[in-house]
Amino acid sequence: MKLTRRQTMLAAMGTAAIAALPIKASAAADDAIAAFTGGAELGEGGITLTAPEIAENGNTVPIEVSAPGAEAIAIFADGNPTPAVATVLFGPLAAEQMAATRIRLAGTQDVVAVARMPDGSFVQARQEVKVTIGGCGG
């Protein structure tokens, strides 16, 4: 079996990806989420978080959140020293409840999006983003 360069590359990244050491979610992350939800239970579904599986640089990581019908979406990076990232309130003229932005991640960790729905319930989506490590020693 002959691997093309691209396949080999993907394989290398695949191996690396499995082994990534994430920053553990902090108590501060739980507190930040609770501050938004008032401690309410977090459901699943109805919210989409799109983030790269591997970010080339943690300084600028493009993400997108979408929760049709939501009143607000809060975004958290659960391994950052300060986990809160942004809170988006949607007004009456927001066509679809979505937003895309670029965020900072201190290392490999979960990005969490939590939406507040008009009935007072909360739903969440989370995804791990692996932040790469540069090759040079300096």
Binding site: A86, V88, R104
Partner: protein, 109 residues
């Protein structure tokens, strides 16, 4: 006021009533997180855009609270519906008290 802060917005010039339009915004700003240190080891004080609001003809589209984890040169993309011709007003609030604004007209046919 922070240096060289310049808002940029992209809004279509025309739309049909009730059409979903995509808006992109970018403002040049360092978004100093308050977590970095200078060469002498002193913490560089936080200086960020902390709030971004978009209204259309006085009605709200989005109202965003930004934290230091938003990247340098904050970028936002979102969607709006426009019921009639009018003006989008964009407002960014800086930690230092500065307020930056931009307006964009749209014609609804």
């Amino acid at each position: 006021m922070a240096e060289n802060v310049k808002p940029r917005v992209r809004v279509p010039g025309t739309a049909s009533a009730g059409e979903v339009i995509t808006i992109k915004t970018l403002i040049s700003h360092t978004m100093e997180s308050g977590q970095r240190k200078d060469d002498d080891g002193n913490t560089i004080p936080r200086s960020i855009i902390n709030r971004f609001v978009v209204d259309f003809n006085g009605e709200n589209v989005i109202d965003v609270q930004l934290e230091p984890a938003i990247s340098t040169n904050p970028f936002f993309e979102f969607q709006a519906t426009v019921p009639e011709s009018g003006t989008f007003n964009f407002t960014w609030y800086d930690d230092d008290g500065s307020v930056y604004t931009e307006a964009k007209d749209i014609t609804v046919s």
